[in-house]
Symmetry: C2
Subunit: 191 residues, 2 copies
Amino acid sequence: MQDLLFDFISKYVSLTEEEKNAIISLDIFHSAKKGTTLLKEGQKTKYSYFVLKGCIRTYYIIEGEEKTTAFYTEMEGLTPYCVKSDNPSEYYISCIEDTILIVSNSDMEVEINGRFPKFETMCKILSEELLAKERIDFDKFKTSSPEQRYLNLLQSRPDLIQRVPQHQLASYLGIKPQSLSRLRARILEKK
Amino acid sequence: MQDLLFDFISKYVSLTEEEKNAIISLDIFHSAKKGTTLLKEGQKTKYSYFVLKGCIRTYYIIEGEEKTTAFYTEMEGLTPYCVKSDNPSEYYISCIEDTILIVSNSDMEVEINGRFPKFETMCKILSEELLAKERIDFDKFKTSSPEQRYLNLLQSRPDLIQRVPQHQLASYLGIKPQSLSRLRARILEKK
DNA sequence: ATAATATCTTAACTTAAGTGAACGTTTTTA
DNA sequence: TAAAAACGTTCACTTAAGTTAAGATATTAT
């Protein structure tokens, strides 16, 4: 299971056994059942989450309605905004499937970064890369219609459409569940 | 002018005179006239841009139409996706106003980071912070209607509405220029 | 196993965005 | 400075998303 992590890390930096052991000794591997809420609106946290296996999502409750804005699956992770800003979180994080997670807190990261500069370099590369990707995704979203967004998703993350409930997908695409149903029917008709 | 940069940096790390001089000697300060294109679709680049004064935008040309997806103003910057991915750029970058920029290339950054670890730490903090912010912005976009997005922008970046042409604002909001006109008229009526 | 709840789809109607065109205004550029 | 191009607004029409409601499944909890 830990190999999943080390395989991932090896794409960015190579770790010695000592470094691997230091990471393992942090006791950051956790598993969580489907439906578990990791973070609630209004809470503050210092934890970051990285998915080894399974799927988590972020969602808001706006005027009583759940709005799912992101999914994180294998080898994806997030540091909630409130970790950086010290404000209470505006969103919830919960598990869509039984999930194996790495949960790290910011003090822990400071310590590891101090001991192994290599690790800090990796985090820098990773977050710069993710920022660039996130901006591209946002651009794509802005320049597409809901239908195009759905077709894009079908191409780029077909697994999501299978593993995620439709009404959560809908808000992820920026529309209502009814509109997603209709839009899919429309696409089938066209074929 | 350089003070703008050092004031900004001082929010994250404190630099010695030696470090400041090292930065100045890199000769990274440039000015560009309104309308200058910094990067074209199809080009590869190793340059990152940081705005000290003025405004730049990223835009795509999709089926003959310009789609503006982002604006960067004072103390904001971007590293084009192609710097990280080594693919040709899918978008253009150009100056909306006469602009004073910091232009840095990735080799330069590697060198500075090697010499001053402090600098690498700052870049890591900055990009993690920006990633978290970008995700929040994307969430906000997904969960809002075009009208709400416009009202949001009016609150959060009122300067943009003044300094940027309407048709560029429109695609930034994910709609057509005609729709932005209409939407503004609608808002005025309501008052 | 059954009741309760959540989810998905369909439909009719409303609202707002997309489209194509016209027109006046501003900005460029030759 | 005159002509050309770009820009912003309005309008009528089309298309698609939002809304409300109902019914059919599927899932969860007791």
